[in-house]
Amino acid sequence: MVLLKRVLRSPVGAQVLRRLAWTVPTLVFITLITFIAGDLAPGDPAVRKAGMHGGQEAVELIREKMGLNRPLHVRYAEFVWNAAHFEFGESLVTPRAVNEIVLTGIQHTGRIALLAILLASGVGILLGGIAAIWRNRVADRLAVSFSTLGICIPNFVLAPVLVYIFAIWLDRLPVAWRDDPERGPWIYLILPVAIMALRPAAVITRLTRASMIDTLSQDFIRTAYAKGVPFWRTIIVHALRNSLVPIMTAVGTSLGFLLTGSFIIETAFLIPGLGSASIDAIRKADYPVIQATVLIFAVLFIAVNLLVDLLLPLIDPRIKEGAA
């Protein structure tokens, strides 16, 4: 209790608790939407599960077994309870369990998203920083053009064009994903990761530039110059650290685009990830799989943004000093 009071009294602690508490209604919201969507899905899941030859009795039996006769709120509670235990029932089309399908998918999707966000953060912060330091010069113009193109060129345009250049014309990289124990996964990941990274890299470039320009015009930067701090030390220790908050926020929201971008990239490169599983399920009207994949994507997105928000006080020099 004493600890709780102390946490609540410190500004950072209260902020963290409020942020954590806010996650609960958000989770309720997304589970409710996905549950309702599944419930509104056309057709009777019991009839589909019973198949063509299932008679009325078989359907009733399956309905009873699947618990479809119970009231809505009971089934919602069960849906949440099961989802929390990573249990999504059975696929309507294949005899496989849904969690088996999504578990294999999540590894591919997660690996690509992680690599892409690392690449995008590196490229974005570097380009944005360069653009801010040499503002209105050639480097800046190039970085801004890159960022505009990166935001505007869709990844499903970029994917076939780059595949044409690197896989067909230059013949250096594979056209699509293949499970290849000989060459390892990396050569197959180059194009997907690079294409996935483009849009977040562009967004992070834009935000880093704006944030750094803002920071570089502050008084403490002039003070740092005036007292003789070397140029690069000023940039990295003083300017970049103080610009990190909006940049990190952008990294968090970019991950949302990465997750949904995986629908396109996995379809384009035939990667058996969560995104392609979801699209496959939509084509086959396999509602439990659609529900599960969408829910996982949304929960991952919330988790990453929660993580970013919780990390922000650690990287923001102002908040830390304020708390001390």
Partner: protein, 268 residues
């Protein structure tokens, strides 16, 4: 340079509109089979033919019609919803603000087009499913923006003056608040249309958007992808026109924002 990009984009979009309206009628219809598949560009089929021997020029034009129709109508619906939610939250009672904004925040829990994919997945892919799904995801970002704008407008002196003179809330909203939002809305609308066109093409690329035989740039890219080893042109046309459209809409949006909001011009 900025002026050139802006006016260049305006001209491009005007041409695109003409293309969408008249393109499908110029030589061949978009569903008409005019020859064997994958004919090279010629006097008859200006941009060549697709996998079923249909005129690519005509199909691109019809795709433009589909994209613009969905983009403009979805954004119109989105703006209307955003205006109601935004002014309601910004101008209305505090409890209304809380309820509306919490709901809007909830919508942001679904990143990008995820919710649209869920909706299309449940309803089944069709023109109206795409329209509805995109309308659902279009309004929250605009609502949040408009609400912030309304909140700051509400505190302005001309609003206080108008209230002091005895004006009712409806008068203030329609005569003083809404006219001030026009500039912002027109700038945001352009970028929003670009986003929706992009989303529609993404869904079509994935095969869960507008269904064949109706052409869409996204599905044209997807089918042309499979033959790019032998013929790259059918892939290039839709890629080119889609990218240019998105760029042009963004440039016009940026230009409009600079015009209406002097503060943003300096930031670049």
């Amino acid at each position: 340079m900025r002026g050139l990009l802006f006016w260049g984009s305006v001209v491009f979009l005007a041409l695109l509109l003409l293309f969408a309206v008249f393109g499908p009628q110029i030589r061949h219809g978009p569903f008409e089979i005019v020859g064997s598949p994958y004919i090279k560009p010629s006097a008859d089929a200006w941009l060549g033919t697709d996998e079923q021997g249909r005129d690519i020029f005509s199909r691109l034009a019809y795709g433009a019609r589909v994209s613009l129709l969905i983009g403009l109508s979805v954004v119109t619906v989105g703006i209307l919803v955003a205006l109601i939610v935004g002014t309601g939250a910004g101008y209305g009672a505090p409890w209304l603000n809380t309820v509306l904004m919490r709901f809007t925040d909830g919508m942001f829990a679904f990143p990008d087009i995820l919710l649209a994919i869920l909706i299309v997945g449940i309803v089944g892919p069709s023109f109206w499913a795409v329209f509805g799904a995109l309308a659902v995801i279009a309004w929250p970002s605009m609502a949040r923006l408009l609400r912030n704008q309304v909140l700051s407008l509400k505190e302005q002196e001309f609003v206080t003056a108008s209230r002091a003179l005895g004006a009712g809330h409806w008068h203030v909203v329609f005569k003083h608040i809404l006219p001030h939002l026009v500039g912002l809305i027109s700038a945001v609308a352009m970028v929003e249309v670009a986003m929706i066109i992009l989303a529609e093409s993404s869904l079509s690329f994935l095969g869960i958007g507008v269904q064949p035989p109706t052409p869409s740039w996204g599905s044209m890219i997807n089918t042309a992808r499979t033959v790019m080893r032998s013929d790259i042109l059918p892939l290039l046309w839709p890629c080119l026109i889609l990218s240019l459209t998105i760029l042009a809409l963004n440039f016009v949006g940026d230009g409009l924002r600079d015009r209406f909001d002097p503060k943003s011009a300096a930031g670049g």
